[in-house]
Symmetry: C2
Subunit: 617 residues, 2 copies
């Protein structure tokens, strides 16, 4: 670990060219002065959890949204930040590497130095372990030169993913104090940003002056909520995977004899699998969210695939491509329950050899039924977030094997009369994660780095850097910051009001929205994807020419820009106030009153029904 | 199979843009007239086999080389081809899909139609099975529109790989006669081009007027000889694989806890693995050719990797990337011998269940030692070319497992004191094979398609289309044709003169030349690759901007252009003849004589020593 961090390295021609690429900044962040405008105090999207969250985060809950604006923007009470004094900031990579991570550091460095050349940016070497051990590397433009717009986290490396235990939190605080940091920027996903919020709360409580900022960087794309439209790395991963999936589709269509089962990285949620399906049109995708919603068993899924294989065989098609998110295994009810039993035995210290003998009778029956390779994988120790080691469990092989057995059975019974079923399995993960980041991810990460600086300059603590309106060009992006606590929820035993909260408040991975537009788009085409082989090849990730500026389809079809709308609402309210000033005609006041009464009525009804977990008509 | 061939399909933006790309033609093929110049009669590169080959191919052995030249080129006895009459040509995809295959058809179509719009190009649907069954699709510009510069073989599909048995050859001939074909173009690799030569010989013998032409299209890059510098698809495959390998390298360097074992498609020879190593600088590559030359056992290789892991651990490095060609398993002496025993039992009709009990004692001992998953894979039926099912044998997992066992042993014994060894295994093949072809492969395939037309227009039979000087831009490429028989060799029991030939003459896969410049380049950097992590990321395949015109490193470092040199030699000889005409001064004649005597002396010595399989000093 005392190794090659930040050492200049040999780049290929394309890497060199990429290192010269300069992402743009939205108008609000150009120049050396930026205004910050504070919105209303935030709540959480799940009002039922608000109380629990506010108790757990007394110092950092309920802070206001912040919007960064051009100094010329006409907002009466916005504060102009003209930071003068030099600041010291630390930055750390937490969790799995995601393409574009380096650009957050570059953006942060460029913002810090352009506001005061005497400011310092320290990178923690080797992830959170480096943070605890106070191992730092001062970031300079020279060090950054061969890491700009490049993939991986190898500028600083990363190790363990968590800052959670008292020892870890204390070590982090002691590092921040000893290094006299004004700010600590944590680059990571769902878990790391939850840790960031906890750290911010502890720092505030213990009067440690370091402000903590989180940045949404995770290839899983599951740190998604009203403030965060997508994550750094998701675009690249989906493009690289879609290229490979499309290549396999072309291969399937050329050879006409194999079914390819492809498992995709992306943790519990199926965002990557859904986006890749929209990009490359494989025959099938088994979304974990669908399986969970319909409570499909492994046998239901097997039957569904077999029926599809049989329907295709009737059209003389003996090939196909089926996508499987790695999180699927935890969405299948009986496998999830089995995993829960195994993990609880792990926690009780039962050794791997003894676990199978201590399972409940039904879990044991299922366990014995499964092929040996998957048994071994299910017995692996759970990850730090208590989920199974998803990247190690070969669900695609399990399904391929079950489908093969069932197709052979149907063949023997005469209910299937086609050719023998042949499967080839793939896992696409590691080979995409280290990719050169797409232009979108380069831009998004670089601008987020800038936003981090402005959050720290505004003295905010426990915030996440946010950019919305991302589906539009960079000059239309809106930059802001939201308290991380506003993104938290609390797990409950059941839906509906009055349900008991369990566990600590946390940012939970967002699942694919089965009522969302992206899913609707997928469903509309599903039968055509299944039968008609309308494979589409987005091709390799391009940096120049056609395709270079493409964005994720799921980002573009959704109509997000929550932050933009929150601002627009504020403008409407201000306008009403300025029109209906004391002294205005009686008719104007009456009109305003009746309209506002109707608006507030509608909103009260909608808010209370959303409390019940139901969508309004 | 009565399916969607040639049906227009939805293309992504990038695919659409690629479909509009128009490859250029070298000057010699521009315009509607082309000259063909015939060189000397050909021999084979292995003089010892010449007799056997000439006996097996009495009608097609020893034909002259052909060079295609601009009509204005000053060559006295070249024949100008101004083809008038319409011709009918059939084309078929044989063997595994390779990126760029579609462009051979496009190039052929464009050449045929530009010389006579009434000519017809018929594509055989579903590979050689379609050929035998006379299932055709008339190729039109409309049909080609969504397949130009696109990957896969899905315009026509492919099925079985061989045209070899009497029934198959007869079926092919009957198809050619019934469809009144003037020419049949076979697109494929080593095996398919051997079949093409056999078909040409049979057609000539039986006075079938169809001329047979082969095209070197195989991602393995193993159809390589003095006439053929590289194959269509190799460039793309190496670029796509190198991208993925580089991504994994970046991942390794970021996570710092895994060794990645990556197996690469490419059949018996290690060309793909070598080129990918030169492009992305992984820590190690185990070339099959090195293993065979040094007769390394599986234990030697395991030890070599373990020693490397240990050396890296001493520098506190616990990650790495190791490439393994899929053909490695057949290069390891004891595994090869085991496979030979298994295959011979297969040939004798022994069922899979009984094979293990009928192995010789030593083979049985090795078999039992191997992990169960690999035993099952070794028992698979051999392929049509008698080799093992290389894509199904997970050599990378076998090696990873053996290395892990050995490292754990060393850890226990205290000879290794580092962290636990962790491996992750990958197979890169199917996900690269269907890629959009690189610009180089688009150009190369398109021009080869044109050359096929000119071979047929010149009435040549049993030739392969060739282009040399490929490392230079398209306008410097030299187009020609070489008799396929000139590329054949005969396997012998041992080296040296007098050794008995065994088996039929065939084009054998070229192995990596351990005396070649590319290998030298690799060896020079090997220790630095191993220890210094100088990973290099060529990035995703680009079609525009930097990197788009990159060519394979192994193509560029070799100094090939054999066809160009053969022509140059001819020019020298012509020049001598024209200077030393009867009537020239005595001194000139004397000088010529003494120089020529010395040249012929040197060449005789060199040729006889190469006969002994030795390289001259």
């Amino acid at each position: 670990m005392d190794s090659d961090y930040g050492v200049p390295r040999e780049l290929s021609d394309l890497q060199k060219q990429r290192a010269l690429y300069q992402p743009g900044l939205p108008p609000c962040l150009q120049g050396t002065t930026v205004r910050v405008e504070f919105g209303d105090a935030t709540t959480t999207s799940d009002p039922a959890g608000a109380h629990v969250i506010s108790q757990a985060f007394p110092h950092t809950y309920g802070q206001s949204l912040a919007h960064f604006l051009r100094p010329t923007a006409k907002v009466p009470d916005a504060q102009i930040i003209v930071e003068q004094s030099a600041i010291r900031v630390g930055v750390v990579f937490c969790g799995r590497q995601s393409p574009g991570g380096h650009n957050v550091i570059w953006g942060l460095h460029s913002a810090i130095k352009s506001h005061n050349p005497n400011s310092t940016l320290l990178g923690f070497v080797g992830g959170t372990e480096g943070l605890f051990a106070k191992k730092t590397l001062e970031i300079t433009d020279h060090i950054l030169s061969t890491y700009k717009n490049q993939g991986g986290y190898d500028l600083l490396g990363r190790t363990k993913d968590q800052i959670r235990t008292t020892e870890q939190v204390n070590a982090a605080m002691s590092a921040c104090q000893e290094l006299k940091l004004d700010g600590l920027v944590i680059i990571g996903g769902v878990t790391s940003n939850t840790d960031a919020a906890q750290l911010a709360e502890t720092f505030a409580e213990l009067k440690c002056s370091t402000k903590v900022v989180g940045v949404p960087v995770t290839l899983n794309g599951d740190l998604k909520n009203q403030f965060v439209e997508t994550n750094v790395g998701f675009d690249t991963i989906c493009k690289v995977n879609s290229q490979l999936i499309s290549n396999v589709c072309t291969d399937a269509l050329s050879a006409e004899k194999y079914y390819y089962f492809i498992r995709l990285m992306g943790r519990k949620a199926s965002h990557v699998a859904m986006e890749c399906t929209l990009q490359s049109h494989p025959n099938m995708v088994i979304l974990g969210e669908e399986v969970a919603a319909s409570k499909l068993t492994i046998f239901d899924i097997t039957k569904q695939i077999c029926d599809a294989v049989q329907a295709r065989a009737q059209k003389d098609k003996y090939h196909g491509v089926i996508l499987i998110p790695e999180g699927l295994v935890e969405s299948i009810p009986e496998l999830y329950a089995l995993l829960q039993e195994i993990h609880s035995l792990h926690r009780r210290g039962v050794s791997v050899e003894d676990i199978s003998s201590q399972l409940s009778p039904w879990a044991s029956a299922l366990f014995v039924f499964l092929p040996p390779f998957i048994r071994k994988q299910l017995l692996l120790h759970p990850e730090s977030d208590d989920s199974a080691q998803l990247s190690q469990i070969e669900t695609e092989k399990l399904l391929a094997q079950l489908v093969e057995t069932e197709m052979n059975k149907r063949l023997k019974e005469g209910t299937y009369k086609g050719k023998k079923f042949n499967a080839i399995c793939h896992f696409f993960g590691y080979q995409a994660r280290g990719s050169l980041p797409s232009k979108f991810d380069c831009d998004y990460a670089f601008v987020l780095g800038h936003v981090c600086y402005h959050i720290l300059a505004a003295g905010l603590n426990g915030y996440m850097a946010t950019i919305t309106n991302l589906k539009n060009p960079v000059n239309k992006w809106r930059c802001g910051a939201a308290p991380i606590t506003a993104m938290m929820t609390v797990k409950r035993w059941s839906h509906g009001p009055g349900a008991m909260p369990i566990g600590k408040p946390a940012i939970h991975p967002a699942t694919v929205d089965l009522k969302g537009k992206a899913y609707e788009l997928l469903r509309r085409s599903a039968s055509s994807f299944l039968m008609d082989d309308i494979y589409r090849n987005p091709g390799p990730l391009q940096f120049d020419g056609p395709g270079a500026d493409a964005k994720a389809i799921s980002l573009c079809v959704e109509d997000q820009d929550y932050m933009g709308r929150i601002k627009l609402l504020q403008e409407y309210l201000d306008k009403v106030r300025s029109i209906v000033k004391p002294g205005c005609p009686q008719e104007v006041l009456k009109a305003a009153l009746s309209s506002m009464a109707s608006v507030t009525d509608v909103l009260s009804v909608m808010s209370s029904s959303s409390l019940n977990g139901q969508t309004p008509l």
